[in-house]
Amino acid sequence: MKGDTIPDQHHVARLCDNKHIDGGFIQATAFMLRSGEESLSVNWLEFLNCSCRESEIDELRNTYSRKLKLGAKAKIAVLTVGEVREKVLTESPDRRNLKALHDPQYGTVNDPSHSGIYNLKHDDELIAELILETVQETYPTRK
């Protein structure tokens, strides 16, 4: 349900577009907000209720391909919510308390697992670098 807090042990995926990838590696810019954005868009993997990670990623690939034009080098980064929150809380200068909240999107393309990481600001390069260090797995957006 919209506004639900995603449990710390759960996982979220972030779509990292071409311009955030160099040499096949995701860069910190993938975890920065665009002007006007309130939260960092992610997808709540456990919400998809799939049997395994690969199925979750396949599901996201389908959703992303219907919503967006995916770059050939784009990747999906998987993060554990609690690890991101703990890392940023303990290592950011202002002990930032991030929140991961469910924010389903319905419209032309439904994206029921869509969620957001809140409490980021637009000049948070240091926090983006910290989040980058918590990336657990990466997957190509195209099989």
Partner: protein
């Protein structure tokens, strides 16, 4: 829509159709000039009458009848073209600068990023020209820099990172106004399991003086 592009520094940036591009494989100020002159934006203003006797704009400015607004649109289109030319010139200057180490690799990377950003959103300019100018100035000022990883922020400003040993990170965001925001992660010498994290804002010409006391230049320069 842009054509599929090959992102190499010696190729022209794809923006308009292939027919409007200068000679492939050559990327010089003359080409840029020719390219600019050959570009004539769609400004035909053709009207027809439909069965309800209302005007239909089949080409050109949709639904804009105020001549001042049309002039504004013309101006903004000219601005776009000028900014695109500046982007191309700056990348060309980097590519041909005798003093920038890894100039070829950096220029190729910038062209790739430009095309990636255009692919994501055709309407944007690819790279913010002020950020690119700032980045170019930084590399002109400091000619001993190792090759950085380069990416674009969501707002298409340039972000360069140098990573060493997984424990040392120096990243710089080049803002369009000549400022930079930087991040340093480095090991704490007294507590090796801990990390020192520093961030700040300064002008590009002061960046080295600001970060050098933290040992950054030792690991990002050759």
């Amino acid at each position: 829509m842009p054509e599929a592009s090959t992102a190499y520094g010696d190729k022209f940036i794809d923006y308009y159709s292939a027919g409007r591009q200068p000679h492939p494989g050559v990327w010089s100020p003359r080409d840029i000039q020719n390219y600019c002159e050959s570009y004539i934006p769609e400004r035909k203003y053709v009207t027809s009458v439909n069965t309800e006797n209302s005007e239909v704009y089949t080409r050109g400015w949709p639904d804009k009848k105020d001549p001042f607004t049309q002039a504004d649109l013309l101006d903004s289109e000219e601005d776009r073209i000028q900014q695109l030319i500046q982007i191309q010139q700056l990348i060309y200057q980097i590519k041909t600068s005798p003093i920038i180490l890894y100039r070829e690799r950096i220029a190729n990377r910038l062209v790739t990023l430009f095309n990636d950003a255009k692919e994501e959103d055709f309407a944007n300019l690819g790279i913010v020209v002020g950020s690119l100018r700032n980045f170019h100035n930084f590399f002109q000022l400091h000619t001993d820099l190792k090759c950085a990883t380069i990416s674009l922020t969501p707002d298409n400003n340039i972000y360069a990172s140098w990573r060493v040993d997984q424990k040392k990170v120096f990243s710089v965001l080049f803002l369009p106004n000549g400022d930079t925001r930087f991040v340093i992660f480095k090991p704490n010498d007294l507590h090796p399991e801990r990390q020192i994290r520093i961030s700040g804002t300064t002008t590009t010409d002061m960046l080295k003086a600001e970060v050098a006391p933290h040992g950054v230049w030792d690991w990002i320069s050759e």
